[in-house]
């Protein structure tokens, strides 16, 4: 019995496949060049592709400069955090700026009184966007131990300015403050330029 091939000729197919191989062989006589070879070498070494948001947030999060603002007891834990033992410069924020215009973060290290409140508001307003506030210590969160002295003490900084991260404790240990700062970094990483809520 003669076997009738289903297709006109399998050998044709074989030839076709062979041709593809031949073509490819003919076309591949040179190694392929780098797809971004059109870039100049200098540029090429320095480009990574990512989203704008991730890029900007990374940059912002890595250099949060705190304002030099030290109202009360908590300030000494903040200073301890900035000094060599806890070394906040690991997070790119060793520079405490005396001018609020150069600062990104206000660490509210101490009790806020009504007499001080307009000044705090002013410091906050002077800080350039983007800016964040970290309420440090029970006083910063809610007035803490002095909350019942309502004639003088503001029950928490969030009466005056919006607060991003709350770190309770009286005073919080430097480790707790560092943890709060890491949380702030996470918050910054979630921000987006499109939504204006960083």
């Amino acid at each position: 019995m003669e076997i009738v091939p289903e297709r006109p000729s399998l050998i044709e197919l074989d030839r076709h496949e062979g041709q593809v191989i031949e073509d490819m062989k003919a076309a591949s006589n040179r190694p392929l060049s780098d797809p971004v070879a059109w870039l100049e070498e200098d540029i090429e070494r320095n480009i990574l592709l990512t989203t704008v948001d991730a890029m900007i947030n990374w940059a912002r999060g890595s250099s949060v400069w705190p304002a030099m603002f030290a109202p009360a007891c908590c300030a000494f834990e903040m200073i301890a955090m900035a000094a060599s033992r806890f070394d906040v410069s690991r997070f790119g924020m060793e520079i405490f700026r005396a001018s609020p215009r150069q600062a990104d973060l206000m660490i509210t290290a101490g009790t806020l009184t009504w007499k001080m409140a307009p000044n705090v508001k002013r410091i906050y307003d002077q800080m350039a966007e983007p800016k964040w506030v970290l309420a440090m210590g029970s006083c910063g969160v809610s007035g803490g131990i002095f909350a019942s002295s309502s004639y003088a003490v503001v029950p928490g900084y969030n009466r005056i300015i919006p607060v991003d991260v709350y770190v309770p404790g009286c005073p919080p240990r430097p480790e707790a403050l560092l943890y709060g700062i890491r949380m702030l970094h996470q918050k910054i990483a979630k921000g987006s330029l499109a939504r204006h809520d960083n």
Partner: protein, 147 residues
Amino acid sequence: MTAVLSPRNIADRLEKEFPGSIVSSDDNSFEMNSTFLVPAARFLKDTPGLDFDFLSYITGIDRYDHFELVYHLVSLKHNHSLTFKVRCYGRDNPSAPSLTPVWRGADFQEREIFDLLGVRFEGHPNLKRIVLWEGFDGHPLRKDFLG
């Protein structure tokens, strides 16, 4: 040890010097009539043997019907101390003479008492609120302060 001078003795001496100046005296302190405060203070400061050159502190207490001012003097020269009190009456405008001309250490403390208790010190060079802001309503250390 800082010797505590007997308030009775000092009170007697003051009474002799300024008749009518002493209201009462006990083992811890004596009470003086506020009109004699400045001359008596000068006497305590300048009399040899007393030489109270250091005004340690002043404070005020609200006793409802009057305000009690407490003065604590120390002599660095002889290392002895003395406490005396002055009363001022009235809740609207209690007042006492200022001791700033005698001891300048009284300056901020009197301003603080004025601020927190509302006692006026006549003759104080710069009597205004010290810790609270101008326009604050009331004097927090008064017992009837609502806050």
